[in-house]
Symmetry: C2
Subunit: 144 residues, 2 copies
């Protein structure tokens, strides 16, 4: 067993326990989807992820990509970002952060700083609890 295999095994174990820790059963499809998605911090559409998984040589249906993304969102492994009526991104980085969206280029960029305020329960509508704070700063090219 060389060091390359060691690293791969370790990375696979990380992905596996990421899913297992959330009570997600391991399957070939969920593993390859998670491998692709969690390889780095990125914002992908379902279709982009589908294409990347295909590119990696795996046979996974688009329905499974949607099912799995929905499952990951429910388990808190991934964050949905609704940009407009026909553009949903999935963010592999679930830590508290916000986004710039360039309406001209379609680029979605992380904002490092914590811009949105903290909420305490009594500031929320009665009988509700915080789910998530979605802050999107829409920008356009200055000289189009």
């Amino acid at each position: 067993m060389n060091s390359k295999n060691d690293r791969q095994t370790t990375q696979q174990e990380r992905i596996d326990s990421l899913l297992s820790d959330q009570g997600i059963n391991l399957t070939r499809q969920r593993r390859v989807i998670a491998d692709t998605l969690f390889a780095r911090n990125q914002h992908l559409t379902a279709d982009q992820l589908f294409e990347m998984v295909k590119q990696a040589g795996a046979r996974v249906s688009k329905a499974t990509v949607y099912n799995t993304l929905g499952l990951f969102v429910k388990k808190g492994l991934v964050r949905e970002i609704f940009i407009d009526a026909n553009r949903t991104f999935y963010d592999s980085n679930t830590s508290h952060h916000h986004h710039f969206y360039n309406v001209d280029t379609g680029d979605l960029i992380d904002i490092k700083e914590r811009l949105a305020p903290h909420f305490v329960n009594h500031e929320l509508p009665a009988g509700t609890a915080m789910d998530v704070v979605d802050l999107v700063i829409r920008v356009r090219n200055s000289h189009p």
Copy 2:
């Protein structure tokens, strides 16, 4: 001419100049859509607005509702709020404010306070200018 008619005339004149000031030609359809939408501060889907206009006795096609909303958005008379992949709201209040969205009930509520930070150009991605700051606090019912 009684005071009721005075008021109606005045209100119609307000709507007319709201549109004219943006270089929008006045038509029967644009007037009834604007009357309905700008009657109060509210968040409506295209379909809700379409139904309200029908209810008011006017014959306006859904295509015209979409065309007119798109025109109003372009002219800055109305603000689009993208809640999820199949829920776009149109906000008749374009002043700087943000929203609570209850994922259980579907309610979209204004937040009075100014929560999101101000931006100056050098804080934005290079070569871009601010368009709009969209802040949505998603909440769920505490005891579902």
